[in-house]
Structures are given as C-alpha cells and as structure tokens.
Symmetry: C2
Subunit: 366 residues, 2 copies
C-alpha cells in the first residue's frame, strides 16, 4: 500500500471514523482504523461492531493495499504533522512509513483481514432529509433516552414514519420527548435506533444543508452523508405505545417565556438537595409561577409571570428534567398543561405544533 | 449588614477572592467568603491561611456589618442572577436575604469573627512593576518549580533584586529557569515566593498595563493591584546558589527556529515511551538536528535545520522538559549550548539577553 494525501483531509477522515472507535476493545483490531486504497481515494473505517463509520479521503494511490493502524497513535501523529502532503507506504516487518516534510514515522500495523466488513443494507428505498433538520430532531429527542440498561429498548429513539410524517420519540420512565417533521416517503415504518448512534451521527452532520440519506434492512440502519457512511445495529423489540401515555386533557394551561422559566428553575435548583432528585416546587396562581426550593443551607423563591387558563396548581419536579426539555426547545413562548400534582405535565410550542414533551412530577410527601 | 451593588461587579469580586479559597478546609470559615461593609464599597476576602486575597466592590451601604458566606454556593447563585442590582441584607436566624429582580435567596451565614485578618506588612518600601511585565516573569519561570515536597524551598520562585535588576529563578533538580528585568529599586533583596501564590497572582493581573506594587516583611509578601490585595506567606530557608550551577562554557552552540524545534520534539515525543521520562534523542551534526525516538509501537525521525558552531553531539532529553521551556520563550530564533551528553544544556534568546534556561540530559544506557 502506498498513497499520498493532504494532511487536513486525512485529519478530517480520522476524526470522522474515530467516532465509532471506543478505545479499549477485546478485539485489538477494533482499536484501529481500517485503511484501504480505492481508485482516487482511500477508504477509512472505524467500528465497535454495533456502529461502523466509513469515509473517503481523496488521495493519489501509488500501490494498492489495506492495513489497520492504531487509532489513537495514528490520529495523534497525523494531527501534529505540518499542513502539507502526507505520504504513507507499507514497509517490511509489518510497518508503515509516514512521511511529511522533515518527519518520518515507522509504525506497526495490524492485519486488515480481521477487520469487520460494513454490514450490507441492500437496495432498499432511501429516505432523504436535510442534515440540519435531522440534527435538530436528534437534539430535540435523544436527551430523553434511558441511561440504565434495565429496559434496553428505551436506550433507543423510536423512528416512526406514518403518512409522510416522521415522529422521533424517546422516553425513560420519567419524561418523554416527541418531535415530528414532514417527510417525503411512500412507505410507513417503525424502527428503534440506539441513542449512542444518533449522537455520533449528529456530530458528523455538517452545517451545509445537504441531504442525508437513510435506509434500513431488518437489523441495520445506514446513514449516508456526502463521503461518509454510518451503519448501526437497530434495537430489537417493540417500543412502548407512546401515544396512549400522553394525556390530551388538562385542568390548567399556561403560557410562559421559555428563557425566564428556564433561568428561574436553574437558580432555584442551586438550592435543591443534591442527589437523584433536584426537587423544586411550582405554585401557579394568579398569572404567576412561584418556584421554591430549600435545603439545609437555605431557601429560594423565584417568580415568573405567566398567562394562565384554568385551575391553580401546586406541583413538584426534578429540576433537571424540566431544564433538559426547556434547553432543547426553540420557541420564545411555550405552553404548559397540567392536571394535578400527581399527573404528568405537558410542554409544547405555542406557534409550530411539532413537539410534545412530557415530564412526570415528583410526589410530595407531607 | 445591608448593601446594594451591581451583579457584574459582585461576580468579579467573587472570582477574585475565590482564587485563595481551596474548597474543603478543616476550618469551616475558610470555605467561605468574608464580606465587610466599608464606606462606599464592600470588602471581600478569601483565605487559605498561606494565601489571602482581598478586593473591593463598590456598593451602596445601607447598614454596616460583616459576615462569612459559603464561597461555592454564594458564587453559583450570584453568577446565575440577572444582570441587575443585587441587594443583600442580614435577617433573623443567621441568614442573609439576597434579592435581585424576581429572585430571593435565604442563606445561612457564618460568624465573621473567626475569619483570619489580613497579615500586616507595615510601611516598607514598595517595588512597582508593570502588570504585564510581572505576568511574563511568572510565566517564564514558575513552570520549573519543583512539584514534590521533598525540598520545600524549591516549590517557590526566587525573587532577587540586585543592582536594579530583578532575577526570578525556579529549579527542580532537572531544569532551571531564570528570567531578569530592570527594576527601579534602591534596595537589594532576596525572598522565595510560593509557586502557587505566583500562579494565582498571575490570574489576577489584568491586561491593562497598570502598575503592580509589591512589598514585604520578614514572613509575608503583599501584592497590590488596583482594588485588590494579595498577601502570601514567603518560604523560609535559603534558595540554592543558582549562579554556581549554570555552566558558562560549551563545546557546541547552535541557533534554531524555536517553533520548528518545538513542533519536531512534540511529534517525536508521541512515539516516546509513556511514563516518567519521555525520552528523545538529539543528534546535532552538519547544521542539522536529527531527533529520534522509539517504543514498542514504532519509531520516529525528525530533522530540523540549525546553524551550528563547535562539535557534533548526541544527547538525550525528557521531551517534556524541553517543550516546557520552548513554550514559554518568545523569540523566533533561540540559541542552545551543549558540552557533552552528560552535561546540562543551556537555552537562551538570540536577541534580548533576559533569560537562561538549563535542562539536564538523560544519560543513555547502551
């Protein structure tokens, strides 16, 4: 193997495929980057079995071949090279020679044959969606994915296409996030994508609003964006029937400036007891939300003006669950709907009806 | 106690005095910020006994008094408040009320009487030096302070005034850093300032090139800059007679571009074995420095062109010791002087003769 490419292109390729490489792996080859020569490019790949990322880096190919090279060391070396042409060639004793201006590195490489192939997806119909739109969908939902492994299906985000609407849904038993977008697709489908995969895909999506192509087979999902392919295992099993758990009725509805509510909750949470539940209390009455919290160090009272319709309420939440939601929402004014101190609260936009968030209250012991 | 001030002034004051507060302390009062009312300002103070920082925040004083308030909680709360007027007043049950727009916090405070006083320095002669000049002196030397406590005096930087020249010197047994500046002073003196103190002073020094005033008594040093005073214990004992250990003779002298040398050493060190000594080898010959290193993963060779006078040499170093020095130097071209593979190397400027760095080589076992 022997090729030449530009340092900055190679760094971009390395950064992309490293997103699939976890570091320590029982399979030594998975701590490495797979490199294979193509026609006018090299094909680079990183994998942790569940998730594989492949990208192309334009190169002048002088001799065909393929190797696997330690991801961390190779990445560190290439990043520190001067911004110039890098030449890489296999030498005797399973080493490669990396040359760039006045630098020469000899590194051991691993056998490329043991590196896993990219799973085949076949020629299924492809869904296309703008990069920025999909990135927003991920941001708006993936934070609500379950972190514990007791119900593995909840560690994924539901990707559901129904009548040309894409719904993405995550829930963890304490809160739920649902966001929807129009999608040009003739087929309905429903799969569950690991939260980790979506977070890595999100990092790869650029600012250029190019199209991202998505296709599936029974067990895998393929994302294609420009020169890069991401293939991930899908989660098996059925997702929770989320529609049946979202209340549609309420006794109190109020409008509030999202930033004001978020800042007040953030301050109030400073006084909330540390630990699993950052407890804050909300009292909504007379067009005011009064937020209180206390601990052994003192207490806090915050007031936010709201525009309410319906009954006054006193309800308590884990501050972090509300803040996570308020942070990913985008509209200036939002709408909250509540029924009682023990029923879930709903948070929505006031203008564009494209999301529903649900947060369970904390039951107050008196 | 009762006063009003601007949130952003208060945040600045908190950030300044927090530099002296270590967090957990066996004396609860030292985890707090001391606040005392003055005429048109509050006096804030943080202390860890060895180091105390005091600053003024302009305020409208409504009632005199003094308190100590938990540093972390108070800082977190004030930083999150809206950018507006903050009102703070003591209330019943040893609490203060912090009010700002629609936020109200009640916090427990501690008794201010137990808080240590600022050590008195007396009316000694004050040395004055520009903030930016002193910050450069700190940066250029404090990195070489010893990290282990086996010889406490080496955990400080020598501050020596001799014939209107200020020499600052740090050394740790493996390397030495000396930087000098002209100073308008009629008195000669020699004290050792804890490295930690200088690092905190450096963070307080602003970009405005105002004057910093320095004064001493037997045991303490006082830094005064604008509204802030820093008082630190001095280290007791005599510093090593550094002049006698800096070689003046050499067999090889070479000029090199500082950035080229640093980048090559940085790359070479990627292949050096991890651990205490990041070993790299330099071979200087025929106006070229060839830098090599190797480990079980491979090897590296870097070439840098130099302009040499004297004998060729082969010598090995801990890469980090060279890099630390090259990073704090400022000139584009620097001068290195060496005698043998077992004698210390000297690194100097080529233009302004205001620093001497010394690095011990690593003895190669063959």
């Amino acid at each position: 193997m022997h090729f030449r490419c530009q340092k900055k292109d190679l760094v971009e390729g390395i950064s992309t495929v490293q997103k699939a490489i976890l570091g320590k792996s029982p399979m030594a080859v998975l701590e490495g980057i797979y490199i294979e020569t193509g026609a006018n490019e090299i094909i680079m790949r990183g994998s942790d079995i569940d998730l594989s990322i492949e990208t192309l880096v334009s190169s002048s190919i002088l001799e065909d071949g393929r190797i696997v090279i330690d991801s961390k060391l190779f990445g560190d070396i290439i990043r520190k090279l001067p911004d110039a042409t890098v030449e890489i060639a296999t030498m005797e004793n399973n080493t490669i020679l990396i040359s760039c201006e006045n630098s020469e590195f000899n590194l051991l490489y691993l056998n490329a044959e043991e590196f896993p192939m990219l799973p085949e997806i076949g020629n299924r119909e492809k869904i296309s969606i703008r990069e920025d739109v999909f990135r927003n969908l991920i941001k708006a939902t993936s934070f609500a994915v379950a972190q514990d492994e007791s119900r593995p299906i909840l560690m994924g985000v539901l990707f559901e296409v129904k009548n040309k609407v894409l719904n993405m849904v995550a829930l963890d038993g304490f809160r739920l996030a649902l966001r929807s977008e129009y999608l040009e697709s003739n087929e309905d489908l429903s799969v569950v994508i690991p939260g980790k995969t979506l977070n890595e895909v999100s990092k790869i999506l650029g600012d250029k609003n190019e199209l991202l192509y998505i296709s599936f087979n029974e067990n895998h999902i393929l994302f294609e964006v420009q020169n890069t392919k991401v293939v991930s295992r899908l989660l098996s099993g059925s997702f929770i029937k989320y529609e049946s758990i979202i209340p549609t009725d309420y006794k109190l509805q109020f409008k509030v400036k999202r930033a004001h509510l978020a800042q007040s909750i953030e301050r109030a949470s400073l006084m909330a007891k540390e630990g699993s539940s950052k407890l804050i209390k909300l009292q909504i009455e007379n067009d005011r939300a009064v937020i209180t919290s206390n601990s052994q160090f003192g207490k806090v009272k915050e007031e936010v003006s709201v525009h309410m319709e319906g009954d006054a309420i006193e309800i308590a939440f884990n501050a972090n669950y509300l803040l996570d939601t308020l942070k990913v929402m985008e509209e200036e004014e939002i709408l909250l709907e509540m029924t009682s101190s023990v029923s879930p609260a709903i948070i929505k936009n006031t203008v564009v009806d494209n999301c529903i968030y649900m947060v369970l209250p904390v039951r107050l012991t008196r």
